[in-house]
């Protein structure tokens, strides 16, 4: 696409956004109820244009944009202050993997529903005994005619209680070396033998569940790739998950108030510098680091477009982004003081209560998607070439 065409495309996007992206989504503080309704409508509009999955082929529900157009779209979305869609396991994790690894039937069957964000997917990876050592997983899938029979349990399956489908790592060959006996299976959550128990977190009720499989029969056609391909697919998919987790550290997505705003509210000085210079310095450090993280994400995209991309990006963003998120939440708690110690009830500001729960929930960011210790191992060995 030549520069003129690209600019025309930019104008088209800007025009469309002005017409379709509701103003309420761009306001820092809005009524949560109205906001939720507006968000839903807005995402449906985006989905209808294929702009939830802009680079996917049109026949799979995408918009078929080339990378340059996608970059323009992302820029304009951000310029308009439009909320990104909630992180969806289907859109951000499974979709890219299915595009690369699925067969034609699987793509046609699953991708359009994902692109419209209509089918909800959950991830069946971790097990109680297999956390950092994911490849030690023991959920079995035994071939019985045209069906795999699945037995075992998964943990941290987000939204399993509401999901339509699960993509799941199962052990199909118990005799192979641990990384080689794993396969990648798509499981309809309505199948008999699946039960789900939600997990309560330190932050309260959560989307996480435990999922139990008891003789669950899964059609053989739902295997992605070949038996034994599971670990390779899982690693690819984890890259997407890690980028998504790292992006939380951006610090500019869908928050009710910015860090400087919170600092002002708690410490005073509406117009001049934040009144406590020591905490102000920490606010500046967080903001500056979030900016650096956003720029690193932008650089990664630019370098990928220029063919200079590095594989380290996902681990690096996950590690640094989640550390930064935790630092930011700790600072928010410090700024809140006793205002941040509330658990529930009318005696506390609702936004403050949300901040406190988010502080607790964010502790998981440095654990999920491969602990930060695992990311450091990966970076050290794979990218810094330090000896085993």
């Amino acid at each position: 696409m030549n520069p003129d065409e690209l600019e025309a495309f930019r104008a088209e996007v800007a025009q469309w956004l002005a017409e379709h992206c509701p103003a309420i989504l761009r306001e820092p503080r809005a009524d949560p109820g109205a906001l939720a309704a507006a968000e839903q409508g807005w995402h449906r509009q985006r989905a209808a244009r294929g702009w939830l999955a802009p680079t996917w082929p049109v026949e799979y529900g995408g918009a078929g944009l080339d990378p340059e157009q996608a970059r323009v779209l992302a820029q304009e979305l951000r310029r308009a202050g439009a909320r990104p869609p909630p992180i969806s396991a289907g859109l951000s994790l499974l979709g890219p993997v299915l595009l690369a690894r699925g067969n034609e039937a699987q793509k046609r069957r699953h991708l359009p529903g994902i692109a419209r964000d209509e089918m909800r997917w959950c991830q069946g990876y971790s097990e109680p005994g297999s956390g950092s050592d994911l490849a030690s997983l023991s959920t079995r899938a035994v071939l019985d005619g045209e069906y795999y029979v699945v037995d075992g349990q998964k943990i941290w399956t987000s939204h399993a209680d509401q999901a339509d489908w699960m993509f799941c790592l199962v052990r199909t060959d118990p005799d192979a070396p641990k990384h080689e006996g794993i396969s990648f299976l798509l499981i309809d959550m309505k199948t008999a033998g699946i039960s789900v128990a939600p997990i309560r977190l330190i932050s309260g009720p959560s989307a996480f569940c435990q999922t139990f499989f008891d003789g669950v029969r899964v059609p053989r056609e739902n295997l992605v790739g070949q038996p034994g391909d599971g670990w390779a697919i899982a690693r690819e998919l984890l890259q997407h998950e890690r980028r998504a987790l790292g992006s939380i550290g951006r610090g500019d997505l869908g928050r009710a108030r910015t860090l400087p705003e919170l600092a002002r509210q708690q410490l005073g000085a509406q117009d001049g510098p934040i009144a406590d210079p020591v905490l102000r310095d920490q606010v500046a450090q967080c903001e500056l680091d979030s900016l650096a993280l956003r720029l690193t994400m932008a650089r990664a995209a630019d370098e990928a477009a220029a063919g200079q991309g590095g594989e380290h990006v996902a681990s690096m963003l996950k590690l640094w982004g989640s550390e930064l998120t935790n630092r930011r939440h700790e600072l928010m708690m410090t700024l809140l003081g006793a205002d941040g110690l509330g658990w529930e009830g009318p005696g506390f500001d609702a936004t403050d209560l949300r901040t406190t729960r988010q502080w607790l929930r964010a502790k998981g960011n440095s654990i999920e998607g491969g602990t930060n210790e695992i990311q450091r191992n990966l970076i050290a060995k794979r990218f810094l070439e330090l000896p085993q």
Binding site: S126, R200, V278, M333, E344
Partner: protein
């Protein structure tokens, strides 16, 4: 002012302190569990602690540790109280020690009239009265930021304003409320303490449950009448009482928090020894070992400075305020770090409500914040030392 480096009282535990430590450890282990704490939380228990257990502790003499024998106390010091608090902290055992002994009890002892002391301290030492301090009005600790006003009236005073985060305020028999009789919010002078009975007309009490499942309330005072006999200490002079009281309470809370962080750390070490991944205990991974070693050093420092502060307060040494701030700052920062590292080292299981370690982190954050965090006490430490 400079800090004497050589404490006069030894920083090792004396034989008696060691006995007290063992007794408190055994009592807490036998009489309380995190299951009880979860029950308080999930059943929305209005108190969040047991008055019966509190009376038992009173019978053991613990509530009276820092009070003279003439008022029913044991006539011991904060050093001994700290030993008990540390052990209660290890078990997350909730008690009104902070509100009733460290804050209001010591405020009465330091500032009350003889009649007030006679009337209240023996009952307090016997575990029969719980008295909560109503002083805070905003999120970050700022003790003189008091807008609640006590206007003079024919019969004495009328108090109006809003007090927040009144620890153990639910079920308290009295509230000791800080109000402004002169001056403007932020000024140290012009503050006065009033002893208000529970049920006094004009007081609205809203429960505000905290992340550590402890009880706190918000008190709204509307033209609450108080007679001159309800004033504790000098009119306009509450800060003179409260400053040493806050020092003692900060050091005592540091001792409890030391127990919290010590237990969290010990449980994390135990988990590192047993949790296996990649065929080995995760505690064999050097990166985790080194982080554990750093935490260990920080804990050692926290122990030393807390003990020194408690002893300096008992000896009324001039460097006691600086040491109290040093202790609260050091312990708060160490507790925060231990809290973060514990959850991370427990991994996913540490994120679940089912596992206790999260309860420790929440209590640690609450105690870190209460009576001033690390940044607040570093600022005070610098001011006291003249820079």
């Amino acid at each position: 002012m400079s800090i004497a480096t050589e404490p006069t009282a030894p920083l090792a535990l004396s034989e008696e302190q060691g006995q007290l430590q063992r007794a408190a450890r055994e009592f807490a282990a036998a009489r309380f569990s995190t299951a009880q704490l979860r029950a308080y939380r999930d059943e929305r228990d209005p108190l969040g602690y047991s008055r019966a257990l509190w009376r038992e502790m009173a019978e053991l003499g613990w509530t009276g540790i820092p009070f003279p024998e003439q008022y029913g106390g044991l006539g011991l010091g904060l050093a001994e109280l700290g030993v008990v608090l540390e052990e209660l902290g290890r078990r997350l055992l909730p008690t009104p020690f902070l509100s009733t002994v460290l804050l209001t009890g010591r405020a009465l002892l330091l500032g009350g009239s003889e009649a007030q002391k006679q009337a209240l301290l023996p009952a307090l030492c016997a575990g029969e009265r719980v008295i909560a301090l109503a002083f805070q009005e905003q999120g970050r600790f700022a003790p003189w930021q008091v807008a609640t006003r006590a206007e003079r009236s024919a019969a004495g005073y009328r108090l109006s304003g809003e007090k927040r985060f009144v620890l153990d305020g639910a079920g308290a028999d009295h509230w000791l409320a800080l109000a402004r009789t002169a001056g403007r919010p932020g000024e140290r002078d012009g503050l006065t303490l009033f002893l208000l009975d529970a049920g006094t007309p004009g007081i609205d009490c809203l429960p505000t449950p905290l992340i550590d499942a402890r009880n706190a309330v918000q008190l709204t005072l509307r033209e609450v009448a108080a007679g001159p006999h309800q004033v504790v200490g000098e009119v306009d002079g509450a800060a003179e009482i409260l400053e040493p009281v806050f020092d003692g309470a900060a050091a005592g809370l540091a001792a409890e928090l030391l127990g919290v962080l010590s237990e969290a750390f010990d449980r994390t070490l135990a988990y590192l020894r047993v949790r296996r991944q990649f065929g080995v205990p995760i505690g064999s991974f050097q990166a985790l070992q080194h982080r554990a070693a750093d935490l260990f050093c920080e804990r050692e420092l926290a122990i030393s400075v807390t003990r020194a502060a408690l002893r300096a307060l008992d000896a009324k040494r001039p460097d006691a305020p600086a040491l109290a701030s040093a202790a609260k700052a050091r312990v708060s920062d160490t507790a925060n770090r231990v809290g973060r590292e514990s959850i991370q080292m427990f991994g996913g299981i540490g994120m679940t409500d089912e596992e206790d370690i999260g309860l420790y982190m929440k209590r640690a954050r609450a105690a870190e914040t209460t009576l001033g965090d690390g940044a607040w006490h570093r600022d005070r430490f610098a001011s006291i030392n003249g820079y």
